[in-house]
């Protein structure tokens, strides 16, 4: 029973953290899993490290499955960010595994030298958990200020009198623009694409106007038209994949293609916890929620006889993918809290982290 109640804790904790719109998905996952670790310390002490790892693994899986299961009850502006979930879960698990591995190596070395008894081993397991918790909170801290760091680095690339194109509403990009305007005191103009189907571009325009940045909303289809007036393109990322490409809101690939064709730089701004060890070969290889979403189904034929039932906007939104993959050759630079990276540098960072 304690198991299930703990599991439930994780999922609800995760969802409540998600509701805080300022937290990005991986950070919310970190928080939820750290709380889980803390609770498992108090409520029921997993006697061995392997059991602990198993329960942790189960909790992570439950978050992943939960997000894939429910589709109807989600609020409108929160689509299933599968890849961000993957990134967060993977990173946390890797961090814990690394920690446990270092710990066990250290411990076996100690054991060889001093020959500790079993009871002491249990005690040191408590130490391990304490260690884990303190390091996890350290990671959380780092993650929360990662966005600010990335924003500071990203804002360097905006020049005075630049015209910037952004897509929809992205929290990172917003912080980049605020940073450039308020802290670096640069004057620039922004074109914001509407960002169908959830039209969060309109919100972005409102927010930017409040901050005093001159901006304009444009249709998604007008990107080719205005690209010549633009100096640079900023895109956010839900996940950065291993070859340096990014997975972001649908429409990002199109914008990058047009920008590349017209010789405009595309800067992708992402925090480093969004790096994930996924390697897509093409658009249809990304771990999105419904890979068969764009096939032709026979559903149509059944409803043929009924009234020409034009799909509503909501139907269109649900039956179309919400993310797409931009290959690395269309991205000029990746601006992260680790610094400015070229797309091929992402793999180096990932290897340092994971291998």
């Amino acid at each position: 029973m304690a198991n299930t109640s703990n599991q439930y804790d994780v999922v609800t904790a995760y969802q409540t953290s998600l509701n805080d719109s300022e937290l990005s998905t991986p950070v919310a996952i970190f928080k939820a899993l750290t709380d889980f670790v803390r609770h498992s310390t108090d409520i029921y002490a997993a006697p061995t490290m392997s059991e602990f790892m198993q329960t942790l693994e189960k909790a992570a899986q439950s978050i992943r499955q939960e997000s894939q299961g429910t589709s109807k009850e989600k609020p409108k502006n929160q689509h299933k960010a599968t890849i961000a979930i993957l990134a967060g879960v993977d990173l946390f698990m890797r961090f814990v595994t690394r920690n446990s591995h270092d710990f066990s190596v250290k411990f076996t070395k100690l054991k060889k030298k001093k020959k500790k008894k079993l009871s002491e081993e249990a005690g040191s397991f408590e130490d391990f958990k304490e260690n884990l918790l303190s390091r996890a909170s350290l990671i959380l801290e780092k993650a929360s200020c990662a966005r600010e760091k990335a924003a500071a680095i990203g804002a360097q690339f905006i020049n005075d009198n630049a015209v910037v194109l952004v897509q929809g509403y992205s929290r990172v990009i917003m912080s980049v623009l605020y940073h450039a305007a308020d802290i670096q005191h640069k004057r620039f103009k922004v074109y914001v694409t509407e960002g169908r189907p959830n039209s969060d571009g309109i919100q972005a325009v409102a927010a930017l106007r409040k901050a005093g940045i001159p901006c304009r909303a444009v249709l998604d289809s007008a990107v080719g038209y205005i690209m010549d007036k633009v100096d640079m393109v900023f895109v956010g990322a839900e996940g950065v994949v291993e070859n340096g490409g990014i997975v972001n809101k649908i429409g990002t690939f199109q914008i990058s293609l047009v920008a590349k064709a017209l010789g405009k730089p595309v800067y992708a701004v992402a925090e480093s916890y969004k790096f994930v060890r996924v390697y897509p070969l093409n658009q249809y290889d990304i771990p999105s929620e419904t890979p068969e979403i764009v096939t032709f189904t026979s559903r149509r034929r059944k409803s043929f006889s009924t009234i020409a039932d034009a799909e509503t906007v909501e139907d269109l939104a649900l039956s179309n993918p919400s993310v797409d993959y931009t290959p690395p050759q269309y991205i000029t630079l990746l601006l992260t809290d680790l610094g400015v990276l070229t797309p091929s540098g992402v793999s180096d960072e990932l290897i340092k982290l994971y291998v």
Partner: protein
Amino acid sequence: MENIKSSPLGIPNSNSSKMASGSPNTMGQPMSSSYENRWLSTGEDTKKGSPLVSRRKSITPEENKPNNSKEANKGKKDTRPQNPNEPPKKAQKDMTKAERRAMQEKQRQEKQSRVAAGLPKGAKQAAELEVKKNPSPVSADTDDTKQKKKALSKNQQNQVPWLLHLDVPKTSDALTKDLHPAVLQLGLYFSEHKIVGSNARCVAMLEIFSKVISDHKPPSDATFSRHIQKHLDPHIAYLLSIRPMSLSMRECIRWLKKEMADIVEEDPPLSDDESRTRLIERIGHFIRERITMADQLIVQNGLQKIQDGDVILTYAKSSVVESLLLETKKKGIDFKVIVVDSRPLFEGKHLLRRLVAAGIDCSYHLLSSIYVALKSVTKVIMGAHALLNNGAVYSRIGSSMVAMAASDKQIPVMICCETYKFVNRTQVDSFVLNELGNPDDLVQTTTNTYDAKKSDTAVLANWRDQPDLRLLNILYDVTPSKYITLVVTEVGLIPCTSAPVVSYKFNCIIKTCIDFYFYFYYYLLYRFGVNTSNEEFGKRVA
């Protein structure tokens, strides 16, 4: 051969004929550098089908000796090799004062011009240098040296001139005398192409070295650990001379040398038996971890990328790709394979045989129809011989064509490569370092053994007699990194530009990785009951 050989730039060679004449032009011709001599005079010589300067350097001492002996026989005190056309020099006693002064003047001028040209001051040394750089033409009566040259040039005269740097130096018999018989046998297998494929060769080589190490008894005055490296060096040299450019073998040898050096450094020093067992154990580890287990991990990683309905194209035969495809079939995934093949090795046929035996839906194309084959392909998977530092792939000749054609059609290209093949070398073209095969392999155009009797009616049978015809059988090529989508290694899927980072990381933290992979290895053994015997590799014969 003419007596007066004009230098490559068309400047008359006033080498020895005008030396005594005293004209200021003696040393006035531009001192041809060795580079000019090597490449430009090489071009001139191959037109005549005569031996090359590179060979000439080893021949000149032989040439000079008969020349010198002849001059000595003529009774001259001067040791400078001279043209027989030259008038005999007067001894100083016989000259008048005026003549002596003229001779002194002439010698002073010569010395000045020599110094100006950058040669050593002494006349004798300058002459020696001259001889080395501009070897004097052979006179008609040195027939035996001519024949010797012809024997050496029999192979070289039909090689493509600008690829001669890839040529294999022949080993003399003296070198093979003291070698372990197993190594000689291995060398024979390599040269007869009985063991092909980089993995198979590496494993065979390491196992043979293991045997050599276990059989080796050091001389009484040296410890095993210090002597073993010296003992292995001639074996290594012999193997490298058989198949020169096997990059992955070089990496293995580099690793082995490092291990041997580590054993020497060991403090307190290990006993002979201990170091022997340790070395053998380490070799076994290497084979298990970085080849056998790496292959299994590559298969696991590669499986992620293969889905139902895939049409996979592969080129020639790679042991890893074969394991991957067989494993995919075992998993029950519905896929098709297209095998692309090329002359003269036709390695794809062996792969095809094995895939069909496993029940996989296959088809077979030659490289010339690659675009036709690519029509329905969803993925291209190939193996590699080595992965270079700039992310380029060094692989069987023809793979770069497949990669380029596939990337032209926006088809992803995956390379399967173990990390021990990551080489610390950069190459942008395929010619700087490569391996030449036997040009006679290209002559036979029918593969039907029944028609083998008619082999002398092959069109190219007498190609060596054609003075302007060269056959080129080159074995490897380099595929630039922009045509490769990803590389599947045992550490995961990486972009090919990350190859140096992985090899660096791997060498740094290899110990912790080994622990981790060991657990994974035993897990795999437990789960899949994989056959880990290394005989499999030995059985991969043509």
